[in-house]
């Protein structure tokens, strides 16, 4: 490949796809020199980097000591990548770091910002060192830049991926939590609804309920909305539709736990709740459901 003999700067290296960069394309002695320089000036460069970080007000969610500790590890793995050309360690470190700092509220721009700052700080130190010999400076930068860019890329991608993973996980958890359809007696289902109902969730709720009615052969369903703070026209209408659809499947719906606020809203906006069978609380709802199903709950004669 033509790349073997040190291609002119600025053309070959600007490829957006960094995954294909061949390792060790710079002469090894140049890389060794570069790494040695970064190792020698570790304390000074790290200080400079930290100064720039606090100057630009990045990572405000973390304490100075934490930033120092993380910066040290980032610096060392940075140099290590330059030396070995392997990214596995950095990738796993980036993932690990993201796992730790995402819950702290660190933003994407901050993570990318600090890595770019480190890149700049190191590049500046190279400029300073090889000022006199511009030919050598060029060759050093040839070795340094692609690796540095790829490091920035790796860290950013790792961070974003981790973030997406967390979001996906949370969405899944919410989806699973949000709609339990529970059988409390033969032919009696309870659907407790907690939290905010948006149209998508309302739809999913209805689907699960109708399917639950079919599979459990339910005759009565108690929908408890004690945990619902507010309800708008769309959701109220959806609730009415759910009640009607359940009836088409031969099940009676009892709605319980309407708060005074929701009751007032519904009356004010004029949603027709005439078709809905409502009871004050969940207990009353279950009792009425039992009556409808012909159950009679009698306390055993000797309470223990």
């Amino acid at each position: 490949m033509a790349r073997r003999d040190n291609p002119p700067r600025g053309t070959t290296f600007k490829e957006p796809n960094t995954a294909e960069l061949p390792r060790n394309e710079a002469p090894p002695e140049l890389l060794r020199e570069l790494v040695a320089h970064l190792r020698q000036n570790r304390t000074h460069l790290r200080e400079e980097w930290l100064r720039r970080i606090s100057e630009t007000r990045l990572l405000t969610a973390m304490t100075k000591e934490e930033i120092f500790a993380e910066a040290t590890s980032v610096y060392d793995s940075y140099v290590e990548v330059l030396e070995t050309g392997t990214f596995e360690a950095l990738t796993s470190y980036a993932r690990n770091l993201s796992e730790r700092i995402i819950p702290r509220g660190v933003e994407t721009h901050e993570v990318i910002g600090i890595v770019l700052l480190l890149r700049d700080v190191l590049a500046r130190s190279l400029f300073a060192k090889y000022q006199a010999d511009s030919e050598k400076l060029n060759r050093i930068l040839d070795a340094y830049e692609p690796a540095a860019n790829r490091i920035a890329n790796t860290v950013a991608v790792g961070f974003v991926q981790e973030r997406e993973r967390v979001i996906r996980q949370q969405q899944e958890a919410i989806r699973e939590l949000s709609t339990p359809v529970l059988q409390v007696r033969e032919r009696l289902l309870i659907l407790p609804i907690i939290g905010v109902i948006d149209p998508q969730r309302a739809r999913q709720l209805t689907e699960q309920l109708l399917r639950g009615i079919r599979t459990n052969r339910a005759k009565v369903v108690v929908i408890d909305i004690t945990g619902v703070a507010a309800m708008d026209v769309t959701v109220a209408n959806h609730l009415v539709q759910t009640v009607e659809a359940s009836r088409l499947l031969g099940a009676t719906v009892i709605v319980t736990g309407l708060s005074p606020e929701i009751a007032q809203t519904l009356v004010t906006i004029g949603v027709d709740l005439g078709k809905m069978n409502t009871v004050g609380d969940l207990q009353g709802g279950i009792e009425q459901a039992e009556r409808l199903l012909g159950y009679k709950v009698v306390p055993s004669s000797e309470p223990r």
Partner: protein, 120 residues
Amino acid sequence: MEVPILKQGEFLIATIQAALSDADLEQLRMALVQRVVRYRSRAVIVDVTAMDVMDSFASRTLREIALMIRLRGAETVIVGIQPEVAFAMVQLGLTLEGVGTALDLEEGLAYLNQKFKTVN
């Protein structure tokens, strides 16, 4: 396709087995309304389990059947509406008001037996 209507004791059972054309639905309506008096039936069960689409005409016809049968002195129960169909119907505002419904044929029979037992 003509819908078969079976006599089962005091009830008539019409089982829809495929998608019906409008003409088929009209034919079903006439057949049920005539036979309910001819057989002195007390109730009619229409089983729609096989229908995976219910348009407004079908829905309206079912409701009309139920109301006509009431005028002829009997009761109607629609059984076997699929969950998806039920929700689609409700969204279109087709709620079969005033018509009895049950989960499936077995439930419909149980509902009617219960009802006529307590009446007598």
